[in-house]
Every structure is written in C-alpha cells, then in structure tokens.
Amino acid sequence: MNVIDINNVSKVYHDNAIPVPAVTDVTLHFTQGEFAALVGPSGSGKTTLLNIIGGLDKPTKGDVIIDGQNVTNLSDSRMIDFRLQNIGFVFQAYNLIPVLTARENVEFIMLLQKRPKAEREKRVAELLKEVGLGDKMNTRPNEMSGGQQQRVAVARALASKPKFILADEPTANLDSKSAANLLDIMSEMNRNENITFIFSTHDSRVIERAHRVVTLTDGVVTSDVNQK
C-alpha cells in the first residue's frame, strides 16, 4: 500500500476575488521509504502541494489518502491529531519552541502523544545522539547554530514515529557544511528506519541526493524521475 496517494488534487486560491490556481490536477503516489524532492521555482505550487500533503491545507478538488485513510475532509481538530500521530515536519525556520531546550523540544511532541516518561527519556537521548547533538541536550535554540537547530528539528520530527516526514526548504538558511550534514542525517534515517522523506526545495544540494525528483511548473507535474 502506498503511504501517500494524491488523486487529482487541485487548489485554487481566491486572492481578492481573482481565482489563482496554485495546483492543478496533480496525481502522485509515494511508497514507504521514499526520499523524494518536489522541485520548481517560486510560484510553481510546490509549497501548496506540500501543505496539502501535510494536511495544512485542503484541496479544492481531489483526495488525499494517507496510509489508506482519506484525510481530505477531516475537520481541523481531527487533522491536527492526525498530523500529531502520523506526520513529521521540518520547516525552513522557526521549528523549535524558543523557551525550551533541545531535549524539551524533542520531548514536547512525545508529551503531546501522551507517551510514558521512561519511553520519552530514552528516545530523546537516542535521537539527539543520532543527530550528533548528544552534548547539547540542555541548550536553548538561541544558543545553537542554524544547522544545529535544524538537526534538533529532525530529531523532533522523528520522535513522534511518523509515517513520513515533510521538509519545507530545510536547508535554505544553512551553509554548505551544515546543509550536507543535515542531509546525511536525514539520508541515514531514511535508510535505517525506512522513513519516507518528502522535500520541497530548490536547493541543488538536496536535489542531488534525492532518489526521486518531482518537478512542478505552474501547478502541474511536469516530470517525475527516479534517479537512484
């Protein structure tokens, strides 16, 4: 079964009564363990598409089916819960709660899931070590570099044991070294844990490492290439 099925999804915005088609008739399927990138210039609709996949936005037409469940018409509240249990997010910036330490940020999502204390503590330590920040457990985001913050974000995204992780321009604010580092980690997670990663990006460093590249132009899928 596919992890994600996007069937004939279209999204039209109404900007001051002028309809703007962001995404038109997109059909895509993702299986478990994919390491895919949605690419395209600004305005291509990749952010909108990513939002729709993540349930942050609802399509005007079409269905979104995640792990067999049709989430297209879930209510806002249900969708929030669904995201909590099934989807991990890494944003371009502002991923972390500024007043919490790295450890607390990662633990936060597990608290929301009401996981028991022992499990939380174990997993937090594990994950932060895996992303190479075992020694920064008690530091706050403003005491870390951009790259370190993003790594904590990945750890947090993984902590909830999601079906897949959506990353919206995760490397946009990072220098080459940090970007490479981050990609290594995500790549490793993808390999070892078989977690699906879907990026929205126009960073060539990311596109290089992706296994599948879906190109969007003016809201339509213009190419879908498996390159590994």
């Binding site: 909590l84 502002y94 919490l100």
Partner: protein, 404 residues
C-alpha cells in the same frame, strides 16, 4: 509542560511582563488602600455611634418612641438592671431619664433633649468624661448642675456657672421647669449632638417630677462587641415586655452608610479590574500576534486547539498572578503601618466634626477582603485571557508559518 512553557514565555519579554506585573501590583495596592481607608472611616463612625451615642444595646418601654413620651417609663428598672449586671456578656449597664424640652438662657432658647444620668454608672458605659472641656463631670455633689455642649453654650450665649432653665412636659402634661447651673461644658466631634443634648443628674431630674424615681432608658455595653446580635436576640426573649434594641436597630443610618460605602467600593474595584483587564487583553493580544509563526508551527506539528487555548490562558493568568502577592503584601504592610499611626485629615476637620467624626483615620481591612481581591484578580485574568486565546486558535497553520 504547558505551565513550563507559559512561565518561561512570561520572562521572554521582560519589559512587557514587568509592566503588567507592576500594573497589577499597583492596582491591587491602591485598591486595597482605598478600601482600608474607607474601612477605617466606617470603624470610626461605628465607634462614635456605639461608644458615644447608642452603646451596644438599649432598653425602653415599648411605647417610648423617643418622642417625648415621658410617661412611658421602664417597669421595675432596678430589677432589670440587676439582671443585666448578672449577665456574663454585659460589661456595664446604666439607667437614664429622657425628656424633650427646652433649654433657655436669658437671651435665647433652644429645643434640646434633657438626659438624667447616674454619673458613676454612666461612666462605665460611655467614655463621655473625656469630652469635658471645662468644669467637671458631676464631681462634688452640687445640686442642679447641668452639662451643656459647646455649640449650645455658644448659641445660648452662656458659659461656666451660667444659670439656665430647663423646661419639659411631665407625665400628666403639666409643664415642669427647673433652674440649673452650668457645671461643665463638653465638646464631642459631633457638633449636632453637642447642640441637642444636655445632661443632669437623675436625682435632680426626678426631683423636678415629684417623688418617683422613674427611668426611661437602660443603656449597656457588652464585653464582646461582635456578639451584639446574639445577645440582642437573647435579651428580647428575656424581657418580652420591654423593647430591646441593638445599635443597629437604633441607628439604621449607620448600617446603611456602611452598606453604601461597601457598595461603592465594589463598583470602584470593578472599574479598576476592568482597567487592568483591558491592559492585560491588549498586551496578550500583541503577544499572540508576535508569535504567529511559532503558534502556526505548534499547530502544524500537532498542538490541538484546546491545548493551544489552554497554553495562552495559562500564560495570561500566570502573568497576572505574579503581581498579586506583591500587591497584597504591600497593602498588608501599608495597612499595618497606618493602621497604627493613623492618617490625619486635619484639613477637613470641621466638616467631619459635623458628621460626628474625628479627623484621624486608622485604615483597616478585614482578612477576607484580601481573599476577595485575589479572586477578583483571578476572574479578571480569566476573562481577559479568553479573547487572546480565541485569536490564537483561529490562526491557520499554513498561513501562520509563512507569515512575514
């Protein structure tokens, strides 16, 4: 966890939080101070009422309406007095005669209440002696001595040792009058009562009426002022043929004024709390808007609406409450200090005297007021938190995250 986040968020913007905390502290302190000031005022008033005028409880003949019904005396007054003196709650009781008539000097006359007292006994019930400014409080057995108030003395153009004539109607309707000599002049802080009351020895009063020793009024003071209502009720049962009244029944105006001031204070505090509430709403609203991206992110990763709502609510309430203990603590200290040393209102002394008050106010607050304030502040915080919290949950994650 939400509590932790809320608490730390408060200190994220120190200046903003300090402003609200300061506002809450000052608001509480000022509000409580005003209440304590009024409280001291009221205490003073009640003290006046009780100590100088009504005492705690008075007993009369049921038909005596304070309207000159001189024939309505108390039956077997000595027996009643004895019973009262045996009552463990009663500190002291005294007998009085009361008549409404005229006090006349060579130049003018004035309508007054003529009160016959037993000086020794009276002194145990009221502290009137301290008001004697000239002369004595019936010391040295002089016959037909009278105590007049300064204001009356001024009106009648008399002074110490002046001769005046007291006139009133006796029980059978005949006009009775007697010549008296001023043996003392008193001045209380209530000018109206100084004008209206003259005091003579009961013996002299009764002598004017003939041979009978009759009395119209028994006034008593209790050992524990708070027990007035229960003792009053008990005495009504004990003396069913007599009219027993507490100072509350005798001076409903005092009780009313008390209630009125309390009512006004509630309105006042309400307005203060409203002011604070608005300040809090606006500040938190700004805080929510400032954190749009962060809130969007939280809702994206899975913080549901009720938790988001709760988070903002907790932050608002906690912020408001930090100032609370300081405000209350400050008030407590202020009331303690001024409660002891008093605040002088000398500038308004004249007006206050005419209303029967001294010009020193000793602020006072009952303990439950502190709790009431804390609850009011809590409710204000609760209500103030609602709107910002609603704004927070109305955010759409997708839009919020990409906000500039």
């Amino acid at each position: 966890m939400l509590l932790k986040i809320a608490w730390r968020n408060i200190w994220r913007k120190k200046t903003r939080s300090l402003i609200i905390i300061f506002a809450v502290t000052m608001g509480i302190w000022a509000g409580l101070f005003i209440c304590s000031f009024m409280g001291g005022f009221i205490n003073e008033m009640m003290d006046e009422s009780i100590n100088h005028t009504f005492s705690h409880i008075q007993i009369h003949n049921p038909l005596f309406k304070g309207n000159n019904e001189i024939q309505y005396t108390i039956k077997e007054p000595q027996k009643v007095l004895a019973a009262l003196e045996n009552n463990p709650d009663v500190k002291a009781a005294t007998l009085r005669n009361v008549a409404f008539g005229m006090t006349a000097s060579p130049s003018t006359a004035s309508g007054t209440k003529i009160v016959g007292i037993n000086p020794e006994q009276e002194n145990k019930v009221t502290d009137f002696k301290i008001f004697i400014k000239q002369g004595t409080y019936f010391e040295g057995n002089k016959r037909n001595g009278v105590l007049v108030g300064q204001k009356l003395a001024d009106k009648l153009h008399i002074k110490m040792h002046s001769k005046i004539v007291l006139t009133f109607a006796g029980p059978d309707g005949n006009i009775v009058s007697g010549a008296f000599r001023v043996i003392g002049i008193y001045k209380t802080s209530n000018a109206q009562s100084d004008l209206a009351n003259v005091f003579v020895n009961s013996d002299d009063f009764n002598a004017m009426l003939g041979n009978d020793t009759t009395f119209h009024e028994i006034a008593m003071v209790l050992k524990d002022a708070d027990k007035v209502d229960t003792v009053n009720a008990a005495m009504k049962k004990q003396f069913p043929t007599l009219k027993v009244e507490s100072w509350k029944e005798l001076s409903p105006e005092t009780v009313t004024l008390n209630d009125y001031i309390a009512f006004i204070l509630w309105i006042l505090m309400g307005v203060f709390m409203l002011g604070l509430g608005f300040a809090i709403v606006n500040t938190m609203l700004m805080a929510v808007m400032e954190r749009t991206r962060e809130l969007g992110m939280l809702m994206a990763i899975g913080l549901n609406k009720s938790r988001t709502f709760g988070m903002i609510m907790i932050e608002t309430i906690t912020l408001t409450f930090v100032g609370c203990p300081f405000g209350i603590g400050l008030s407590y200290l202020t009331v303690a200090y001024f409660g002891k040393h008093g605040i002088s209102l000398a500038a308004f002394a004249k007006g206050m005297e005419n209303f029967g008050m001294s010009s020193m106010v000793y602020p006072f607050l009952k303990e439950n007021v502190y709790w009431q304030i804390a609850i009011m502040v809590f409710c204000t915080a609760l209500l103030a938190a609602i709107y910002p919290s609603i704004r927070a949950i109305r955010l759409k994650p997708a839009e919020a995250i990409h906000k500039i």
